[in-house]
């Protein structure tokens, strides 16, 4: 019997757990370790942040699917990974600390999947964030609920005839998840428009992207009414229709009670005043440490990179190459750690070889480097691929098998930026294949235009609405859940 330990129960970890359980049955042990006992469907946090949904509608207890599938769940923080064991055992283990009683436990594993997701690194931008700062976030359902409470205050002030400045965007030069920030910005603008208060709202989108529609993946070209057009056009069109002004190429470096300070690519330093602001923070590793057999921290980068993200089979030397030489070949195919073959990392937890968008710095050296997006669909696809690969490996008696590629250069991503809620609404629907542009295979536009599309319309909004219910149904492991694509 093999024991697979999964750190994290977000989209990638949960997908891996469910698929492993389906593929391996109860002959093998699957253990999930997460400090949160709830599963949350993060993409719907946008609707929590605009009051269309309650937090209860986007989350449910993990015990529901885990009881059905016989998955062991431990509500705990993973503190250290000991890939070679310690002086008492040669078997790899994870040291965990339970949330409830702070007790520690060694959890031994045959295979380890690191799917911890990100640490929301608000401290990278002084003054930012809902806990110690004055800006809000929609990265979790609790943050989104707080954002909605604050947004309501601004709406009430507008109802009383007071003008309000609303700033939404990226709170650091290296932040990612531009899609979520754009979606929230469009939803807030739509909500205010529906209430007839647009004339009292100054809504701005501030970003580290080179241009609107970059989305941290270098943008995308899509077929559009007889043209091949850049995603810039679609996003700018949606911004224009809702009266949002966009401020691109800006590295936010400080926030205070009513101002956001940023530096533009050209070196201009400026600030933007705000009454309500939602800024996505930079992401970092969650702070798990690797420990060797003698109890010393592993600091040579073989397990974790300095940013706390896990080392996998990517070509990290490619980061030194010129931007035009970067390719999909640089990206990890198996997400396997090269030193400890029984350790894998998926979702945000793996260290990418380099960004997808062209990295830049401002004149004063601040980053203008959107990190590659690895949330949502890519996370789930990676989780499913690793589950398939590990199941094949375990069934082969431990000989590593990789029937599925887990490379972002081999699979597609779909992103629906939805505006409004319910039957009424609007959306910008976008799909890209491959996720990482491949200019060797597709020299003109970097992606296959038959599978890369962008289209505004209500149809995409219905699609997103349907996805909310379909993916929660799937995550609860209800009958036929595996028939729903990732």
């Amino acid at each position: 019997m093999a024991r697979v330990v999964i750190l994290g129960a977000g989209i990638s970890g949960h997908t891996a757990a469910l698929n492993l359980s389906r593929l391996l049955g109860k002959k093998h042990e699957i253990v999930v370790i997460s400090p949160n006992s709830q599963y949350q469907w993060v993409p719907s946090n946008v609707w929590v942040g605009t009051g269309h949904m309650k937090a209860e509608q986007v989350k449910f207890p993990l015990s529901i699917p885990y009881k059905k599938l016989g998955i062991i769940f431990k509500q705990a923080f993973a503190r250290t990974i000991h890939p070679d064991g310690d002086k008492t055992t040669n078997k790899g283990f994870v040291n965990i600390e339970y949330v409830e009683n702070k007790e520690n436990e060694k959890v031994e594993y045959d295979y380890l999947i690191n799917a911890t997701g990100p640490k929301l690194n608000f401290s990278a931008t002084p003054g930012m964030g809902p806990e110690e700062g004055t800006t809000y976030s929609i990265c979790s359902y609790t943050h989104a609920t707080e954002a909605w409470e604050k947004l309501q205050e601004s709406i009430q002030k507008m109802k009383n005839g007071e003008k309000q400045k609303i700033v939404i965007g990226l709170g650091h030069g290296s932040a990612t998840c531009q899609g979520a920030a754009i979606e929230y910005c469009l939803n807030v603008a739509s909500l205010i428009k529906d209430k007839g208060l647009s004339h009292l709202a100054d809504i701005r989108y501030i970003s580290n992207e080179w241009m609107a529609g970059d989305l941290g993946m270098g943008g995308a070209y899509v077929k559009n009414n007889g043209y091949v057009a850049h995603s810039k056009n679609i996003i700018e069109s949606l911004f224009t229709e809702l009266g949002i002004k966009w401020y691109m190429r800006n590295s936010v470096y400080k926030v205070d009670k009513n101002k956001i300070y940023y530096e533009n690519f050209d070196g201009t330093e400026a600030y933007m005043e705000y009454d309500f602001s939602m800024l996505i923070p930079a992401f970092a590793g969650v702070g798990i440490k690797g420990i060797d057999k003698n109890g010393n921290e592993i600091t040579d980068g073989s397990l974790f990179k300095p940013n706390g993200l896990m080392t996998v089979d990517a070509d990290y030397s490619s980061a030194k190459k010129p931007y035009h030489e970067w390719s999909g070949e640089d990206w990890p195919k198996t997400l396997q750690n090269p030193t400890w073959k029984n350790i894998f990392a998926i979702g945000i937890a793996f260290a990418p070889p380099h960004p997808i968008s062209k990295p830049r710095t401002t004149k004063n050296g601040r980053p203008l480097t959107p990190a590659p997006p690895r949330t949502g669909m890519p996370s789930a696809v990676m989780g499913n691929a690793i589950a398939n690969n590990l199941a094949a490996t375990i069934k082969a008696g431990g000989e590593y098998k990789f029937p599925r590629s887990a490379s972002m250069a081999d699979f597609a991503s779909i992103c629906v930026v939805s505006i409004g809620y319910g039957f009424r609404g609007m959306a910008g629907t976008m799909s890209v294949y491959p996720t990482i542009p491949d200019y060797k295979k597709y020299p003109d536009f970097g992606r296959d235009l038959d599978y890369t599309l962008g289209e505004p319309g209500i149809a995409g909004h219905w699609f997103k609405w349907l996805m909310h219910y379909a993916f929660l149904y799937k995550a609860k492991a209800n009958p036929g859940w595996w028939l729903i694509p990732d």
């Binding site: 241009m211 559009n224 057009a229 850049h230 810039k232 056009n233 679609i234 700018e236 069109s237 224009t240 229709e241 009266g243 002004k245 966009w246 401020y247 691109m248 669909m377 696809v381 691929a385 599925r404 590629s405 081999d410 699979f411 597609a412 779909i414 609007m426 629907t429 799909s431 294949y433 491959p434 599978y451 599309l453 289209e455 505004p456 319309g457 209500i458 149809a459 995409g460 219905w462 699609f463 694509p485 990732d486």
Partner: protein, 61 residues
């Protein structure tokens, strides 16, 4: 400045301001496109088409 009729009510930024900024729109939907985006019958057709396309795209791995 010449008078722009279609869609003007939604263009909230003046040319004087846009002239010195990034806000020069690459694409803006005229009435026909705005109608098409909201037409339930057409959008239902697009929903079917998009669902098939998305399913095919999601299977590309």
């Amino acid at each position: 400045m010449s008078k722009q009729v279609k869609g003007k009510n939604l263009l909230t930024t003046s040319w004087e301001e846009r002239n010195y900024s990034d806000w020069n729109y690459g694409m803006y939907p005229l009435q026909q496109e705005q109608f098409r985006r909201k037409c339930i019958i057409y959008q239902f057709y697009r929903f079917i088409v998009l669902s098939i396309k998305m399913h095919k795209t999601a299977s590309m791995h």
